[in-house]
């Protein structure tokens, strides 16, 4: 009996000890950072955190008087986990804002949390179109420092059509991000006279693409790829093994050849063209300096995931400059943030009235060469054309665009598929 009670008491001591709550310091800015630190997107999480940390370290954790407390939560790339982590950061760690997430589904899950908890959520990566489009009113505490999925696709569709690409087959990850990237491309590409003749949707984390590759239509001249997760390296390799490269042109979403994975890729991606708001090969002084510092610090070329979060830190710092380091409250913070114009490594950024960045979109081609005085020939996303100050609505009429259905698996319909 005594033994039993002894154990019971021990158990309750452990429970009581675990209820200890860390105290919040006064006069500080608490930032909750959500990244998928475990799982197939772990490399991306590292890039994101490093980008943000670099800006923090450069400024010694002090944004114009606000002392930054930086707390990372692991989303495991699952929306449900992200929601709980967000609630934890808000309720337990009392953060002033949330930043991060990767997958579109995580963005869709976190936006309502920001509304419910009246806490600012800065989406540095999740690009789900509707959060700053058709649903923007529902999420007043939501602001984006990254991009919408279809933002680079719109200019790219036009570019591809003008540069003689005619019949395109798409292989894109089977979720919102894939639909929106492909949908945006299809819209402008077909409006200009191009044809999407086949759309394939392998699941996220597909590793073996051979069944999809073997069914690529022979009369296509271009393959558009968007793998997500584990198979990002495999898809171009398998395309090469199957002889699709170099028979057809290789194009894709910017993330398919992003610097988080580019150093690990082989010669099969040389010549691949993709659009994004960032390239580590950008030749502006800011970009070159950013790449240099990041490389020296982390031994790796910064990806768009790094740049986007570095820039996010920079933007928060800019807001804090206006408030002299005082937290202005969520609503005021959003107001101040969206009125900013900043010079980021990626180029000039301003915000539209739906809280999404207006920014340059770069059409980039993968080349193997020496750049910026680095010793070896490496793969770089060399910028071949710049579309300056692209909004998420491209050249469309905003009101009409918003009346159209969102891009999905079946929209826009594939008119030229058989």
């Amino acid at each position: 009996m005594t033994n039993k009670w002894f154990r019971a008491v021990g158990l309750s001591v452990i429970v009581a000890a675990s209820l200890w709550v860390p105290q919040a310091l006064a006069d500080e800015l608490r930032i909750g950072f959500l990244a998928p630190a475990t799982g197939s997107l772990a490399q991306i999480a590292t890039d994101m955190t490093n980008g943000f940390r670099m800006y923090l370290d450069d400024h010694k954790g002090d944004f114009h008087g606000a002392k930054i407390t930086f707390i990372v939560g692991d989303t495991e790339a699952k929306p449900a986990v992200a929601v709980l982590q967000a609630e934890k950061l808000i309720k337990q760690n009392h953060v002033n804002m949330l930043i991060g997430g990767v997958l579109a589904s995580t963005g869709y899950a976190l936006a309502p949390v920001s509304t419910r908890e009246k806490t600012v959520y800065i989406s540095s990566i999740p690009a789900s179109d509707n959060l700053t489009q058709r649903d923007a009113d529902k999420y007043p505490y939501f602001v984006r420092t990254g991009w919408t999925s279809s933002q680079p696709s719109h200019p790219f569709g036009e570019w591809a059509c003008k540069h003689g690409y005619k019949k395109v087959v798409t292989i894109a990850a089977d979720y919102a991000f894939g639909y929106e990237v492909v949908g945006g491309f299809q819209k402008t590409f077909e409006a200009c006279g191009g044809k999407i003749i086949q759309k394939m949707w392998p699941p996220i984390n597909t590793v073996d693409y051979s069944p999809y590759i073997s069914s690529i239509k022979a009369d296509a001249d271009t393959v558009f790829i968007l793998p997500v997760g584990a198979g990002t390296l495999q898809l171009p390799q398998q395309l090469m093994e199957a002889g699709i490269i170099p028979k057809m042109h290789l194009i894709g979403c910017g993330t398919s050849f992003d610097e988080f994975i580019l150093p690990h890729m082989g010669d099969e991606v040389i010549g691949a063209i993709s659009p994004l708001q960032w390239s580590a090969a950008l030749q502006t002084p800011k970009a070159v300096a950013f790449v240099k510092e990041y490389r020296a610090k982390f031994g790796k070329v910064p990806s768009y995931f790094s740049e986007s979060n570095y820039t996010t830190a920079m933007i928060i710092d800019a807001v804090m400059q206006e408030t002299h380091g005082k937290w202005p409250g969520g609503e005021q913070f959003i107001k101040l943030l969206t009125a900013l114009k900043v010079e980021a490594p990626r180029g000039p950024i301003s915000f539209d009235d739906m809280r999404n960045p207006v920014q340059n979109i770069y059409i980039r081609q993968v080349e193997k060469k020496q750049m910026d005085g680095y010793p070896n020939a490496e793969l770089w996303n060399v910028v071949i054309q710049t579309y300056p100050q692209v909004s998420q609505f491209w050249t469309f009429n905003e009101a009409e665009y918003l009346k159209e259905p969102s891009y999905t698996r079946d929209y826009p319909p594939c008119k030229y598929c058989e």
């Binding site: 449900a80 979720y175 999905t408």
Partner: protein, 342 residues
Amino acid sequence: MKGHRKPLAVLALLFAVAVLTPHTTPFVLLLVTRILILAILAMSLDLLLGFTGIASLGHAAFLGLGAYMTAILAVRYNFGLGWGFPLVILFGSLLGAATAALFGLFALRARGVYFLMITLALSQCVWGLAYRWDSLTGGDNGLNLPGRPVLGVIRLGNDTAFFYLVFACFAVSLLALYLFVQSPFGKSLVGIREHEVRMRILGYNTWLHKYIVFVVSGAFGGLAGVLWAHVSSEVSPDDVTLATSVDVLLMVVLGGPGTLFGGVVGAAIVVFLREYLSTLVPWWQYVLGGAYVLAILYLPDGVLSIFRQRPPPLAAGPVSAEALTPSPGPGDELKINQGGIE
């Protein structure tokens, strides 16, 4: 130990939880709410695993169905956000039961590891539906609920109010399941667990008994799902994955299968270790892993066995129906005799 002590201890514990939780931090309140919901699911699984002796890897399906039904009604039909909510709870349970009735027809033809595989496959079908039926379920994006229900002056958007709703559902489930397993029917399940052939020889339609318990289990799974949809206001295919089923199984095993309340303890341990400890230390996964290993090595009958004395020897006269813990061991044969068979 006297038979009535354990229900009393459980009652006292529940009372303490109900009174104290709202006075802790908001995050602890949220975690306890989640624990209670998962506890309903774990108890429903315990009916199968602990009492009937059939392990299912498909319990996420019932949770998912209840959750998706709630979300779809709320998002697509704007139903269940007011006084319709009690109906949603009812529908959720019925949907869970109906699905279990369907799944049971396939799954209960097998036993052991084959039953495990079939339940896994069936729950993957539900996952597939959630992931692929875009127009209804929102696919990979999932569904965001517009908010928690408002019942007159009671706004469940308030975390404390929602906690009490969940607590009430939990308490009713615990009581119902307790009465269920204490009934002669419940005893017949233990008989099936211990020796199904003998039960059949004694004239029991064991298939029907298992089928009924499977349906009951599904109903409570569906109920947990309805609450689950509202706790995070978000439903996604992740809720229906194998990982969820395994989690629930772990909770039951960790807490103590065949004890009903073990599932509650297991849910509390898993959720607190995972969600709370992770806020304090970065190496929480090792603690969780260590806890699993230690529990299996030293408490193979679950954490609740700390409070249990050695099973009484067979000759010790009439065995009191050990309230919440019909322990596997020599005592069982006697209990069966007391309960179902005669």
